[in-house]
């Protein structure tokens, strides 16, 4: 996987003025598609790759010969790349790009799954589950960054949220109290970030990094002092129940994933839509974007720049704190030291890869979640592809995106700049 990424980088980096972005992408797709068809095709055993529509090997399945599939989808990638390269159907170029990447992925899967089976429900479920904190964390980032405050403290907000959720959830014996205090935990970090960045004009990246360490230290300290000796009283939070919507839950694949889920899944999905709508269609959203792009102009027309920044960073704290609750109230039954293990930075990557938009962040988070799920799946079937390289994918993808190799990412113009009323 990683070799293709390097290939792609090296190819695309060649600076030739008459080469358009489409040509670059087309060539990259042709290359990785050809690679997939040849390498994956020759490596794949000529056995059936079964994609079952359930959580295990049983039941109906989509099935394809592994070798045939690997070659077929590799060639489809080449075809999509060819369309882009030839400059055909320019309006649909993004569709062809996505189709090309998806077929490359399918080619890879055909190779890996040949002779095995991949349970689609389990995979989708796991993807959404792993993506859940990333979605919430990235949305928190969207709220902050669109209003001009860089938030690299998502990791710290996760940790505080996870810790507070476990602590209060256990002491109160209620998962909802835990969820509420997880939000409060996120807000605490967000509040320090906001005050330092907005009131005291400290460099926002500096504050964020320091706050991550602060959250790591304080949760680790209290964990070792309180939770470890008395796990019963402090660190056994009740778990969030899974709710099943009758009827809808019977839809194949989608049903059990979306309609037999915990509350956080729905909260995350609703928030994506609400924040997208809010940013683009409401007065608050217009003002937020104005403050993020040109605070002086916004101030001139009477928008309270600092007030709006405080509000949005704190709202981000709520969202990230709820994302932190996922770790203790959904994923595992207790808090452990540094349990988020860099998820906050993957959320940051998702935010940037998603171009600072809610739906972009959502898509990126799903993609990164899928990469993680795939990593665990592949190590379960003893694949030769090391899981560490799949786990690198979010970071490498973001690296390529910010370097402008696949469409430059542009941050809000006033991102990271304190506003001093002149």
């Amino acid at each position: 996987m990683s070799t293709t990424t390097v290939e792609e980088m090296a190819e695309v980096a060649a600076p030739e003025p008459f080469w358009t972005r489409q040509r670059h992408l087309g060539l990259a797709l042709i290359l990785i598609g050809g690679l997939a068809a040849v390498v994956f095709g020759s490596l794949a055993p000529s056995e059936d790759a079964r994609f079952t529509l359930s959580e295990d090997a049983a039941g109906a399945a989509l099935s394809i010969n592994g070798q045939f599939g690997a070659v077929l989808f590799g060639l489809l990638t080449v075809a999509a790349g060819g369309v882009l390269f030839a400059g055909l159907l320019k309006r649909w170029s993004n569709v062809f790009l996505v189709a090309g990447i998806l077929s490359f992925l399918l080619s890879f899967l055909c190779w890996q799954v040949a002779g095995e089976f991949m349970p689609l429900v389990d995979t989708t479920d796991g993807t959404l589950e792993l993506a859940l904190p990333l979605i919430l964390g990235a949305l928190a980032g969207v709220l902050g960054e669109r209003t001009g405050v860089v938030n690299v403290a998502i990791e710290g907000q996760f940790l505080m949220g996870a810790f507070a959720g476990a602590l209060v959830g256990t002491m109160a014996g209620s998962v909802w109290a835990g969820l509420l205090s997880a939000a409060v935990g996120g807000v605490i970090i967000a509040a320090i970030l906001a005050v330092m960045a907005i009131r005291y004009l400290v460099d926002q990246v500096v504050v964020g990094i320091v706050l991550n360490l602060f959250a790591l230290g304080i949760t680790g300290f209290l964990y070792e002092r309180l939770m470890q000796p008395n796990a019963q009283t402090y660190n056994q939070p009740p778990q969030m129940p899974e709710w099943r919507i009758p009827g809808l839950a019977d839809i194949p694949v989608v049903g059990p994933v979306l309609f037999e889920a915990n509350l956080l899944v729905w909260v995350a999905l609703v928030l994506v839509v609400v924040i997208h709508f809010g940013l683009n269609r409401t007065r608050w959203g217009l003002r937020t974007r104005a403050v993020g792009e040109h605070p002086t102009a916004a101030d001139t027309v009477g928008i309270r720049v600092r007030g709006l920044r405080y509000l949005n960073v704190l709202l981000g704290g709520v969202v990230a704190g709820i994302g932190g609750a996922y770790f203790t109230l959904v994923a595992t039954g207790s808090f452990t030291k540094n349990m988020t293990a860099g998820a906050g930075f993957i959320a940051l990557a998702a935010l940037i890869f998603g171009r600072f938009t809610p739906f972009g962040a959502f898509g990126a988070a799903l993609f990164f979640g899928f990469a993680q799920k795939l990593a665990t799946y592949l190590s379960a079937i003893d694949s030769p592809v090391p899981s560490q390289f799949l786990n690198m994918l979010p970071y490498l993808a973001t690296l390529i995106a910010v370097a402008g190799l696949v469409g430059r990412v542009r941050a809000p113009a006033a991102d990271g700049q304190p506003y001093i009323k002149g």
Binding site: L201, G217, I218, F221, L222, L399, A403
Partner: protein
């Protein structure tokens, strides 16, 4: 006295440390249930709660000091011949051992800062330094001295490569170094985790993730026994002097400072900003790689997934605390090393989690980074030297 009570660097640093220590004390008290129980009848007998809290906090911080600088009891035992001098100086040795890699990573961040770049990637660069130095250390089997030099150089080059990438991306595409270096940090960490379990790297006969041991001739010389301190701290001081010279006396240092102060003006004056960025990031990466090399060759002697610990991120705090000046960074690294060494003793003697040290470090830097906050709390007079604010203005 009046001048002292103004917002100068010294006063700000001292007050930041005092506030951090006070908050740490509060944390120690509220996390101790027996002492907390005494607060339940505080109004009836306040002396109980106060004396218990005082005892708890003073013992903890005394252990911190003893672990960082030295235990008077051991010193007197040494004078009366009941302990060896090695035992008396073991705490200092621990402090220097922890400080050595932080000096390098701190210098890496500080140097990049002066050129207007925020090198969050010291962690990843240190990891690459660990990898390159470690592999060179157990592969080549060169004669003594030469083997060590080759291993250190390999570490520096590994780090420089990992610093060169974000520098090049910044210069060629304008990709922000904060984002690229964060991504490269995690990439490096995952790469190391993969590498140590590969055949030829993993120690033979081991199933856990640890590499072969670095050859004895490639290890940084150390007195041995309880004294873990090694040549790395000497190299660190020399490197600090070197960086100070580079920054303040050399032509490249002038370019760094010019670009850091105002890239547009520097460009107008004929300095190639892009070239400076690339070279600066490579040098900064090399410094962090040096730090990783001292960690492997001096302390760990083998690669593990967590061999680099947190030295890159700590280096960030060290640079901030040292206000991005080379000698300031050296002293900040010594302070952090002392906190870490003392924290170990505090953990084993008083049972206070080592994580308290992380909290203290983060708080100190948080206050230092916000001089306006400290000024407001203590009602300090304004001072011309605003410290970090000035050096970060263009960050």
């Amino acid at each position: 006295m009046k001048r002292f009570w103004s917002a100068n660097n010294f006063t700000l640093t001292a007050l930041s440390m005092i506030m951090a220590v006070v908050i740490g004390a509060v944390l120690i008290i509220i996390s101790d249930s027996t002492v907390l129980a005494k607060f339940a009848y505080f109004t009836a007998r306040p002396s109980d709660a106060v004396s218990a809290s005082w005892l708890l906090v003073s013992t903890a911080y005394a252990d911190l000091l003893k672990g960082a600088i030295g235990d008077p009891a051991v010193f007197s035992a040494w004078f009366s011949g009941e302990a060896t001098w090695q035992q008396a100086f073991a705490p200092i040795s621990e402090t220097l051992t922890y400080a050595a890699p932080l000096v390098f990573t701190g210098l890496s961040v500080a140097l990049a800062f002066r050129g207007g770049l925020f090198n969050i990637g010291a962690q990843g660069q240190a990891v690459l330094g660990c990898i390159a130095a470690g592999i060179a250390g157990f592969t080549f089997g060169l004669p003594i001295v030469l083997n060590l030099i080759v291993a250190v150089v390999a570490g520096v080059l590994g780090g420089a490569l990992w610093g060169f990438i974000p520098g090049l991306l910044k210069a060629r595409t304008g990709a922000h170094e904060v984002i690229t270096t964060i991504m490269l940090n995690y990439t490096a960490g995952l790469f190391l985790a993969w590498l140590v379990i590969q055949q030829g790297i993993q120690a033979p006969g081991r199933s856990d993730a640890i590499s072969k041991a670095v050859a004895e001739s490639a290890q940084l010389p150390s007195p041995g026994g309880v004294l873990r301190v090694h040549l790395g701290i000497v190299l660190a001081v020399l490197t600090t002097a070197g960086v100070a010279w580079l920054l303040n006396k050399s032509a490249f240092g002038f370019e760094i400072r010019a670009v850091g102060a105002n890239p547009h003006a520097a460009k107008t004056a004929g300095i190639s900003v892009a070239k400076t960025y690339v070279l600066l990031m490579a040098v900064a990466g090399g410094l962090a790689g040096f730090g990783g090399a001292t960690q492997v060759l001096g302390t760990a002697h083998a690669l593990t997934p967590s061999v680099a610990g947190n030295i890159g991120f700590d280096g960030l705090l060290v640079a901030l605390l040292g206000r991005n000046r080379p000698w300031g960074t050296l002293f900040a690294a010594l302070l952090f090393g002392a906190l870490r060494a003392g924290g170990n003793r505090m953990q084993s003697f008083s049972g206070i989690s080592l994580e308290l040290v992380t909290v203290l470090q983060a708080l100190i830097v948080l206050f230092i980074a916000a001089p306006a906050l400290v000024k407001a709390i203590f009602r300090l007079r304004a001072s011309r030297a605003t410290g970090l604010g000035a050096s970060l203005a263009k960050g």
